[in-house]
Amino acid sequence: MTQDERTLQGAVARIDSQLRELPREIEPGRDLWSGIAARIDERAAPAPASEPRHSAWFWQAAAAVALVAASSLLTATLLDRDRPAGQAVVTAAPSNQVATSQDAVGMPAAFGPAGTLDPEYLAARKQLTQMLDQRIGTLPPSARAKLEFNLGEMRRAADEINAALAAQPGDPLLEELLLKTYQDELAVLSNVSQLTGSLENAAASPAEKRMQL
């Protein structure tokens, strides 16, 4: 077991112990029902027309995006930590360095004209993008260009859906596809980070001559 795994195991054990110490039941200090009933009545009233309303699945999906973001980041981070200290990826820094993945992605983080994304998602995406930026130099230029083009493709897809959402706010199909696009972007960032992270010695390779991208 590595030091990282021991640390993680220790943290999990501490959390388990703290959870076991929590009381099984907590009596509310006051009668909450009257407040809850009032809130239900408020929600039953029609929402103002200016505020786009999202269906229940939307919030479930938004929670799923946050979960995917967290798990993608956790996986990528753990894999990164598993790398022995002496095996840091060598950044090739070629002379014709192209734009970073941050430049390539730059995805508008919004759901339609009035929405914003979960801060947890944004933070996870930022970290994954930074991680990829560190490693993208290890990819052969042609593979890197291909990757950046495809991250741009996802950005264009999100732009297109956002534009459609501006015309049809609250469309459940558009919202679903937009959420999936954000999820897919995270998955690509995470996958490529893991892929490049697992390949030491990749930078200074003669791989270019074999690239068929």
Binding site: V90, L139, P140, S142, A143, K146, L147, F149, N150, L151, E153, M154, A157, E160, I161, A164, Q168, D171, L173, L174, E176, L177, K180, T181, D184, A187, V188, N191, V192, L195, T196, S198, L199, E200, N201, A202, A203, A204, S205, P206, A207, E208, R210, M211, Q212, L213
Partner: protein, 305 residues
């Protein structure tokens, strides 16, 4: 009886020059790469991890409890690590921190039931006769393997993926950024995800399949298990579903601006008088399986073969 071959007088100088050239080239060829020949005992259910940057990796399953590595180490390569710890055999091509290194070709024979994990940058990966789980990853190399019913995971950025299935049920996961993927005779659960690559999958019978794409086309041909769940999403890529045999399924197909073409059931309907969206909902047979397809602008085709 002896056969004597004599060069015609007219050609003797040419032959002599060719022989001289060959003789002069031979030493260079000998220095082009270092032959590899390594062998170790291995657990039949152990793991074999292989890492190579450029060249090829060919893995073959055999009925011996040994791992054998042959092939040629590219000129300039630092070394080949060949280690064994418990049930894990590791084969790793180690490169120096410079660029004038030639490709390495690895030919690896493993116990057929081994778990095989291969990582490459541009090296093509070929696997045959392996009946254990496979995890194949490459940045731009081509992945070519056979499925025997065990789990297979293939991941590439731009490399193409080709899987020849056996009709046995298993879990196959394919992830590419721009690489195309083709698979035949898969069964069980198939998950495919791509940004701009085209996925073309032939499935004997699927119980669960999930395909996603941004701009690549998705094609699935096969039959649905009674309780199958098929989920396909694309932004601008086209989706084609060709169902084989009798189908009892509940279809929920929607596209924001793409066309929906179906060869059975009612015609698709507009979702809104003033918007381009179309949807097609239909129950075929007992409706026990569920098919769900969503696109933004990609066209959808659902037919029976």
């Amino acid at each position: 009886m002896k056969t004597v071959v004599a060069a015609a007088p007219c050609c003797q100088p040419v032959v002599a020059r060719a022989i001289a050239l060959l003789a002069a080239t031979l030493p260079l060829a000998a220095f082009a790469g270092t032959p590899i020949n390594k062998l170790t005992a291995a657990d039949p259910t152990g793991t074999v991890e292989i890492s190579n940057t450029a060249g090829t990796v060919t893995v073959t399953g055999w009925d011996r409890n040994e791992v054998e590595v042959t092939g040629e180490l590219g000129k300039g390569t630092e070394r080949l690590d060949f280690t064994k710890a418990d049930k894990i055999t590791r084969i790793k091509v180690v490169l120096p921190n410079r660029s004038d290194v030639e490709d390495t070709d690895l030919i690896v024979k493993v116990p057929a039931t081994s778990l095989v994990s291969v990582n490459t940058v541009s090296a093509d990966i070929g696997v045959q006769g392996v009946r254990g789980t496979q995890r194949l990853q490459s940045v731009s190399g081509e992945l070519r393997t056979e499925s025997s019913g065990e789990d297979i995971e293939c991941r590439t950025v731009s490399g193409d993926v080709n899987i020849a299935g056996s009709g046995r049920k298993g879990l196959v996961s394919i992830t590419t950024v721009s690489g195309d993927a083709t698979a035949t005779r898969l069964a069980g659960e198939v998950n495919g995800s791509t940004v701009s690559g085209n996925l073309t999958l032939g499935v004997g019978e699927t119980s669960r399949s999930r395909l996603r794409s941004t701009s690549g086309d998705l094609t699935l041909q096969g039959s649905l298990a009674a309780d199958a769940r098929l989920d396909i999403e694309s932004i601008s890529g086209d989706v084609r579903l060709d169902l084989v045999g009798k189908t009892g399924a509940d279809f929920d197909v929607a596209s924001f601006s793409g066309d929906i073409r179906n060869c059975f059931g009612p015609k698709p309907v507009r979702t809104d008088e003033y918007a381009p969206g179309k949807e097609w909902r239909h129950q075929e047979g007992d409706g026990s399986a569920r098919v769900r397809i969503k696109t933004l602008s990609g066209d959808v085709s659902v037919c029976r073969k």
